[in-house]
Amino acid sequence: MAGPLKPIPLFDLSGGENTVASPYVLGRNQSQRVVNFILDEHGSLRVRDGMDTLTTIGTTDPIAKMETYTRSNSAAIRLAIARATSPALNRLWNWTANPPTDLGALASSTAMPDIVLFNNEAIITEGNTVTLNSYDATAITQLTGGAPPSAHIANHLNYLWGWNTNPTTAGIQGPSSLRSSDLNNQNSWPAASQTFIARDDGQQGQGLGLFTIAETGISPEAVLIAFKDFSLYQVSGVFGATAFAVQKVKSDMGCVAPRTIQFLAGFGMMRLTHRGFALYDGVNDTLVSEEIRPRIFGRDDITPIDWSQVAMASATQVANPPLYVCSCPVTSSSGALRRVFVYDLVRRAWTINEYPNDQATLALILEAGTLPIVVAGGYTGGVVYELFGGDATDDGTDISWLVRTRGIIAGSPSERMYVRRMLAKFYDIPEGTTVQARFYASPTAPITQKIVEKTVPIVTPIAPFLGYGLSAWGLSPYGAPVTENVTDVDLNFDVGLKCNAIIAELSGTSAGGRLRGIEFHVRQMPLTTATLQRN
């Protein structure tokens, strides 16, 4: 005799995506695929914010770098570098201006320029064969005083540091050479302020990061982290200081994409390595992307990122909620950044974002008196986009999203069950949104999958009424009107399948919305050796 249906709820989706584990042993709060969601603080999946056009600069070249340049007693200038195709030269733009202003040509067409603010100027690097330039809100000038070409630069303890100063080792320059300027002087580079870090070890300098230490009772200080391909070094102090030290960190990971290095206050320093994403917390260096390894290296139906262009990857961070965001090229994208990895730093879980427009860089715009803005430089069209800005759509277009659940079983993945229905609870999702559910039953013969579509019903708002409303005495003599139009809905998907296990893939296109949970109603069937489905 058939027993009662029992519920199998999935109401904590905060574990993000896990593409590695068997669907039957995923974490209870994990899903196989989570695309175009971020992890809501309340355990839901929230549709990501839209990609919103902020401005268009007058170029079709990729926007390879963006930085806010703030001079003393002056308004901030939002700088952008448009990456040219040789023999044309990269160009510097001011996109605060309306319309954006072309500030002039730089010195090369290097693919990975960088900008660091130092001593009231914006210092620009274009690789280890081009002398450093600076912009002082008036003109672009070349640094003097023996300033070395440097693939990577940093402002650390009021010295300008250059790392990887030449493609080959010659004199005091080389791919493992670390140099610094004099104090507060970007035009003075003494030869004494130089060292090689693991010279000629087959690796090259792959980025610099600043790691802040703030311990109770000790003045806050920073150490410089110098990355090579497969190692990282902690540089404390400055050249000439008594306790100046360079220490190798206990790790076999370095960095393969210099523009993915981000110091995340409260969490550590994150970047993309040859093994995936790693987080250095000052003591340990830990690989944190094992759950999504196929998204990085490929497997089955998942294409990998493009490792021939991986150095182009770019990362930034979001303050609220705390996220690390990294955009990488994929095999089919010819270097354009397309696959966006989103790491929730509190939950330590991943989701994947896909945007309608490819990017060339990501940046966090920090200006006094305004909330931080996360921006993306477009790969084509010279467009600057805002991400994570609270927009419900991509420039007016609804956002496509997808979640694939863990495997649902009644007893074990080999025991028969009858799946009657699935309920999906959505909140704040626009009425009229069509949600499609694909059910993948195991074993897969004779029915491969079943597709059911449901539409979020139109909610009848409460008619405005006169009377005392939200405020004690009302906003008018007779009170304020109240309407309710936020949708909280349970969509019922009839399944009606006998199987050993089932996976549901929900997808839709909407302007926002949250998936708060899923519940299956199943009945375990008597143990049997039968494996074929009979309907």
């Binding site: 905060s14 603080e41 309340h42 355990g43 004199g171 005091i172 003494p190 030869a191 004494a192 302020s193 130089q194 060292t195 090689f196 230490i213 703030a214 311990e215 109770t216 000790i218 150490v223 404390s236 050249f239 000439g240 008594t242 306790a243 100046f244 030290a245 360079v246 220490q247 409260g266 969490f267 550590g268 917390d281 000052g282 003591v283 340990n284 730093l345 509190v346 939950r347």
Partner: protein, 101 residues
Amino acid sequence: MDYEQLKQKRQDEWREKQHALAMNLQSLRAAILEREDVKQKPDPKSPTSFPNVACPICQETVFLVSKWVTINGIKHKMVCSCVHCTYQGTYDWEFSRWLGL
């Protein structure tokens, strides 16, 4: 664990790591300060003799050292001037050579 509890847990973990890093740096600095090359840092106002370093101009071995660079407590470079012929340059201890020649 709800979100607020997780946030608190991360803050506690970060505080521990910051403390460990600060202690590591403190002990590293204390060890560096005991190194011979640090303790014997030349006085910039007094000539210092380096028998194995010859002035590239006059071959003398006494210098006034204006900048003494150590790394991990080991002498690395020095900026100095010869007291006999006033030659000024940077000497690289790692490769035992004058730079820029």
